[in-house]
Amino acid sequence: MTPFWIATIGTSVIAFALKYSGHSVPEKWLSHPKIQRVNALIPIALLSALVAVQSFSEKSKLMIDQRLVGLTVAIITLLLKAPFPVVVLSAALSSAAVYNWL
């Protein structure tokens, strides 16, 4: 089995187990304020790290390329409160333009 299959199946099984457990455990187990607090912060940490790694690295090497332009455009459109499809499309188009014509 390739790592891609292991990841696909493993992620799916755990994702469902987490969802189902939430529907099945007593409410008091998971409603502690500290758990709520940590739960709000984990996505912020992981997603920010993913933005950074996906923008500035390739395999374990750091690099700056057309993705910097895409990221900058994404930040600008988000600051302008653009809807999500506009954010992604603007980032992709600007990055593609730099890659193809510069």
């Binding site: 992620t11 923008s55 930040i75």
Partner: protein, 208 residues
Amino acid sequence: MSVSLTVGAYGVAFGAAAVANGFTILQSCLLSLLTFSGASQFAVIGVLGAGGSAISGIATASLLGVRNALYGVIMAPRLKVHGFKRVIAAQVTIDESTGVALGQEVRGVDEMRKGFWYTGIGVFVFWNLFTLAGALGAQAMGDIRAFGLDSAVPAAFLGLVWPRLTGNFERVLAVGCAVFAIVMTPILPAGLPIIATAFIAINVGLKR
């Protein structure tokens, strides 16, 4: 309408990004059908695409999936479903369905249930159709950089994290974790710099 369009855009971006990161069309579609949680799906393809191991990918995705368990805790007493219906309810317990349900709280529990089911099932259908479209599209593209797909993925992550940056504390954490991950990337095996930031979040969350 705007929810469908947004979900569609995310779905296309996910399908395309999954294929671009080395997943097959079948694997991409299975992730959307079975995992069905946007951030977790993007995380697992992101980690493997960056050369990380399956374990790192699964761990990162699962840490992001913990919040769905907490949504389940909120929704279960309101839905009151058992057996097969509970299985379906669990599968469609995501940001959108829980968010819409909680938005209906003032209108009573029936409206909450309606909001949860309509949104959950609707997003599920759209998300899976658009994943397939994106995966097929990326397969046809060849060099994904020529289409800007390499920038679409970080932009999608940024779009996911942006609404969560509600205060200065959250913004400092976000920037700190981004910098930490970059600095650690040449040093640690791929995937670990990302997972490590979850422990930063747990640490500061417990101390605060």
